[in-house]
Point group: C2
Chain length 424, copies 2
Amino acid sequence: MSLIVQKFGGSSVADAESIKRVAKRIVETRKAGNEVVVAVSAMGDTTDELLDLAHQVTPIPAPRELDMLLTAGERISMALLAMSIRSMGHDARSFTGSQAGMITDARHGQARIVDVTPVRVRDALDEGAIAIVAGFQGFNRGTGDITTLGRGGSDTTAVALAAALHADVCEIYTDVDGIFTADPRVVPRAQKIDRISSEEMLELAANGAKVLYIRAVEYARRHGVTLHVRSSFNNNEGTIVYNPTEENSESPVEEPLIAGVATDLSEAKITVVGVPDIPGKAAQIFNIVAKTGANIDMIVQNVSAAATGLTDISFTLPKSDGQTVLTALTAEQTDVGFRGLQYDDQIGKLALVGAGMRTNAGVSAKLFTALYEAGINIEMISTSEIRISVVTRADTVNDALRVVHTAFGLDADDEAVVHGGTGR
Amino acid sequence: MSLIVQKFGGSSVADAESIKRVAKRIVETRKAGNEVVVAVSAMGDTTDELLDLAHQVTPIPAPRELDMLLTAGERISMALLAMSIRSMGHDARSFTGSQAGMITDARHGQARIVDVTPVRVRDALDEGAIAIVAGFQGFNRGTGDITTLGRGGSDTTAVALAAALHADVCEIYTDVDGIFTADPRVVPRAQKIDRISSEEMLELAANGAKVLYIRAVEYARRHGVTLHVRSSFNNNEGTIVYNPTEENSESPVEEPLIAGVATDLSEAKITVVGVPDIPGKAAQIFNIVAKTGANIDMIVQNVSAAATGLTDISFTLPKSDGQTVLTALTAEQTDVGFRGLQYDDQIGKLALVGAGMRTNAGVSAKLFTALYEAGINIEMISTSEIRISVVTRADTVNDALRVVHTAFGLDADDEAVVHGGTGR
C-alpha cells in the first residue's frame, strides 16, 4: 500500500462542483488501494475576499488577527471536501494546521515550519480514513497562536506532510499538465518535462517558473520527497521532480543537457556607480542592502578602470524592494563613498537550467550566439554549476526565450495546450 | 475595576462598518475602566451561506465536518473585530472556542458545555488586552474535535464565560431595547421591562419570547450571572435579568404582579382519544413520545367519562416534532389501547408570567374574564407557580395578547419603537 499526499490549490476547489470533482479524484486514489492525505487551499478568491474585508476594517491589520482571519478560508474548503468524500461512502476527516501538527515559529504571515507531528493524520489513516489537511496554516507552541506560511504555503504543507509521513509521492495538482521546458504561453512548442531533478527544478522556480514555489521544492529536496506535478483536469502523467541519490537507480544515467528555460520580469537592477576599488567596499554595500531584508539575485562587478580607482557594482532584486534599497544606500552614500545610483526596472531575466551543463562545455557559447544572432543585447551574466542567467531589456526577453528554446533543440513537434494560472 | 462580558450577534457585525461601530462601543467600555470580554457571532448571513454551500456538496453533511465548516464564521468576525479594536490603539486578541477553553461533550451541532477554562482569556485581560471570543463553538477533549453549541450558542458562550470569569455583568446586545412586557410588533403599547428575575425570564423565553435563548438564561440562573439585554444601536439602559438571593438586597421587596406576556405560534396539539382510564396508561403514552426526542410542553387530561371508562389526553409540542410523534403513537396503538389520534397545528399559546402570582390570588380569574369578554375561547390551561398558559385558536392569539396586556395594566402611555429580529 502506497501513501500519497495530494495538494489541490484554490482554483481546483473554487465552487461546490469543483469540490465534488476533486473529492471523486481523491476517492479514486483511495479505491486504487492507496492511503491518501490531502492538503487543500482556500476556495477560489476566498483569501482575497478576506484580505479585502480586513482592509475595509483597517489599513494595517494586526498580523496575528490577519492569520486568524485568513485561516478561515481553508477551514471552509477542507470541511466541504471532507463532507463531499463522506457522501461518497468513504471515511474522511478534516484537520486544521494545528490539529495536523504543523508546528511553526511565531512569525505571523510568513511562519517557518519547525516541526511536523501529524499524529492525528496518521491515526486517521490507520483507521482507514482519508485525511484532509488545511494548507497554508500552522501553529506556534510558545504563543498558542495560529500562523500562516506565506506565499505557496499550501505546497509547503503538502511537502512537509509527505516528508513527516514518509509518503511515496507528493502530487501537486495544478491547472497545467506539468513543468514545461519554457512557458507555453510564450513558447507554443514548449514540451512537458517528464522527469526533472530537484536541483534543476529549484533553479527554474528561482528564476521565474511559476508552477511550483521554490520553498516547497527546497523542502522536498532537503527531505527526499518525490513530487509529481500534474493537472487536476485530466489523468495524464505530469512531471516527476526527483532527488538523485547514489542509491537512486531510477535517475537517468546521462542527464539531458538542458532541462528548461525560465524568464522573469519581476526584477529591477540597481547599479552603484563609482565605488572606491578598495577591499571591504562590496561587503559594506551588501550589508546595507541585507539590513533592508531585500532578496538580492544576481551581482556583477565590473573590472576596475585603473585610471580612476573606481568600479561599478550592479545587482538585481525584486522590483518591490527597489525603493527601500535605494533609500538605504542613499543614506550611507557619504560613508561608503560611491558617486551615484542608477535604477532600471525595464530588465528581463532569462535562465537556462540543466544538470548536464556540469559535464558539457560550450553551453554558454551556444546561448550567447543564439542571442547575438537574434539581435538581443546581454546586459548582465551570472552562472551556477547548472544554470546560466542573462539580463536583457524587458521587451526582448520573450524573443530571447523563443530563440534559446529553439537553439537548444527543445521545441516539440506540436504546440502545447495552455490553461490559466495557479492557486496559492 | 469591573469585568464585563459583551455579546454581539450576527446582525450587529454584518459588515465592515458595523464591525467598526461595535469595536468603538467595546473600546468605550474599556476606556471607562472595565475589563472587557466579547463573545461574537458570525457576520450577518455567513452561517446560512456556509450551510448552503454544504448542501450544494451533499444533502446530509457529516456533523463533524459541518461543525468544522460553520466555525469558520466566527473566526472571520472575531479576527476582524480584534484588528478593528487594535487599529483604535487598544490591545485585543481573538480566541477560538478551543483557545478560550470552551470544553464540550462530543455531540456535534448541539454540544453541551462540560467545562470552561478560559486561561488565555484571563491572561489577556491581565495584560490589559480586550479578549474577543468566538461564540457558538467549543472543543471536545476526548476526540480533539471542534463542536458547535446549537441554536443560541453565542448567548450561551457569553454567559458561560461570564460565569467562569466571575464577570460583574453579561451584556447581551441585540437590535431591540430590551425585554418587553409583550411583543411590541403586536402590542404597540408594550413597555420595556427594567428588571426581571431569571425565573420569570425563563418562563417568558420558554413561552415564546425570542430575545433571549432559554438555554443561556438557564445557564445564567444556575451560575448566578446577571444579564443586561440592551440595544447595540443606542446607549439606553436595557433590561436587567437578575438572580434573587437572600443576600441580594437589590431585588425589589415587592415584586410586580405580572412581568410580561409571551405568545407562541410554533406549537401543535395532539389529542390521544379514548385512552382506557386505568393506571399506567399516561406513563406508557409519554414513554413512547419521549423515545422520539420530542419536547412536550403542556399536558392536559380530561376527567374520565364514568360510563365509558375512557379518557382523552392532550399535549402540545413543536410542530416540527408532530409527524414523528404521530407515527410513533400509531405504531403502538393496539398495545396502548387508545381509540384514535387528533392533530391540530392551528393553535396559539399565551403565557402570563409574574413572580407576584405566588402571593396574589385572582390572577387566573382576571385572565379568563378578559379573554371571555373579548370572545376568545380557551382550549387548554396549564399553570406553574409563576405562570398561567392558555391555548387558543392561532388566529385569535394576537387579540388575546392585546386584551390581556391591557387588562393587567401593562400598557404604556406611548407606543414603543420596533426594530427587526436577532442574530444567533
